[in-house]
Symmetry: C2
């Protein structure tokens, strides 16, 4: 497999986060050699930094199987006017939430800290098992684990992953917190240059707005159906101009260069007000 060298690789930090694990998986699966690993504070900063940096890549979460689309990623991809930045690859990562604390006694816990998405993905179990415990949002699961490790208050606990338990030397008090067993997050790899190594498992991601008439979305989906293209994902995002005006984010099975995708995209032009191809890329298992 050809090696793919980049200057920097940007991802949502800090170390120990799920995005950090996703980054390591991308390095391995796509055989990427990065000079520097650069954790970023948020999604907007990660994309903004990539815009200034021509020989680097960036890894961002796009969808979680419980929570749905990561709106900040879609909204920032849409706003990004640098058409050379495209999605270059996708991986999925299983997400396992653990309750971590200094104490070994669950009954001592009075406050639980974590990222809002992690708290949301455990909300049923937290409601059942820890109804009287206070929940607190923090900017990352890994920062929550660090806060618990550094605090002198033994009634604090964090929801984070196994890497964090090891990094901060915390006890695992509960490993059955995930509300749903199949909790996975998909991540995109973004960059300017196409990754040379490819498999046949490909997707094309687009964002479009339909013409403002009844049945317009139906017309768009009919084009994909006619060309026998499988729509693997659809989500609506507000246009942010007016309540009731929407953009549609879609993922299609197949590469942009495939004959049927080419034909469909061409035909689509008569039915949309706006369309942007975010990328055509491989899925790395």
């Amino acid at each position: 497999m050809t090696e793919f060298s980049v200057e920097n690789i940007y991802y949502l930090g800090p170390d120990g986060s799920n995005a950090h694990s996703a980054m390591l998986k991308f390095l391995e699966k796509c055989n990427i050699k990065a000079k520097n690993l650069k954790p970023q504070k948020d999604i907007r900063r990660a994309i903004d930094t990539l815009k200034q940096d021509y020989s680097s890549v960036c890894i961002l979460p796009i969808e979680n199987s419980i929570q749905g689309i990561v709106r900040e990623t879609i909204d920032n991809l849409l706003k990004n006017e640098d058409l050379k930045i495209r999605i270059q690859g996708e991986i999925s990562l299983p997400i396992k939430h653990l309750l971590l604390a200094k104490t070994a006694d669950k009954n001592e816990i009075k406050k639980i800290f974590s990222h809002p998405q992690a708290l949301a993905q455990c909300s049923n179990n937290l409601y059942k098992k820890y109804k009287d415990v206070e929940l607190h949002d923090l900017s990352s699961t890994s920062y929550a684990a660090q806060k618990v490790a550094e605090s002198e208050d033994c009634s604090y606990a964090a929801i984070a992953n196994e890497t964090c338990a090891k990094m901060f030397n915390l006890n695992i008090l509960d490993n059955d917190l995930n509300d749903e067993t199949d909790n996975k997050t998909r991540f995109y790899l973004l960059g300017r240059e196409e990754i040379k190594y490819k498999n046949d498992n490909g997707k094309t991601a687009i964002i479009l707005s339909t013409k403002n008439k009844s049945g317009a979305l139906c017309d768009v989906l009919q084009i994909f159906k006619k060309h026998d293209i499988n729509l693997t994902y659809i989500d609506s995002r507000p246009s942010k101009r007016k309540l009731g005006e929407y953009l549609f984010f879609m993922e299609l099975d197949g590469f942009e260069g495939d004959y049927k995708i080419k034909m469909a995209l061409e035909e689509l032009m008569n039915y949309v007000d706006f369309i942007k191809i975010l990328g055509s890329f491989c899925i790395y298992e």
Copy 2:
């Protein structure tokens, strides 16, 4: 207009929140007389409380023009197995975010507190105008204003509405924080008994899963198109069973009892694995 009496009205508190203003608007528009106004801590608790309480109603946010759908509302409506609880009405509320503080000097501000949705709806302006200020999530905008009012640290500010500025006697430092000018939130009124007063401006909300085959969503949309039904909203939610399995939340123009909606829903049965009608209701301007 007939008066509509209920025991309790539940809404997302605390007082001063946008949900509180929405509740007051519903009382007026639908001529509801409620014995008790009962603010709730979160969406799940609001629906859970309504389930136990047969002569009450509940008000929940469903969509914001910038952020999109309120996932917790949809997911809890879907999970709710009490089929008698239905959406009874909808209103929209303009959302205006203000920067509130004890000090009158913007340059003193070092920390800004607010609800994550409010922070997200101002994120461009915050990034431009207050780049070095720390942002902190709290559970409500009104609680953020209270925290700022009660703190002795004059470098604290909150993003909240005008009601909060008055309630907590805070200065308005910035009234140009909304990233988008048309920032509105739609709210649903939920209850068991149908509101007697009606206008002609009606909608039907459904949630469905399509059969697992290529083009299945297209088939569903074609039925609406054939019956000349306008789809005003569509959003996908994860089935929470498997990454890649989705449910679709849809809003249609017209009432459930309208002939064309009846026909379409009947025809739909052959194309869906699951369907739930969340309600058929008026929009109150």
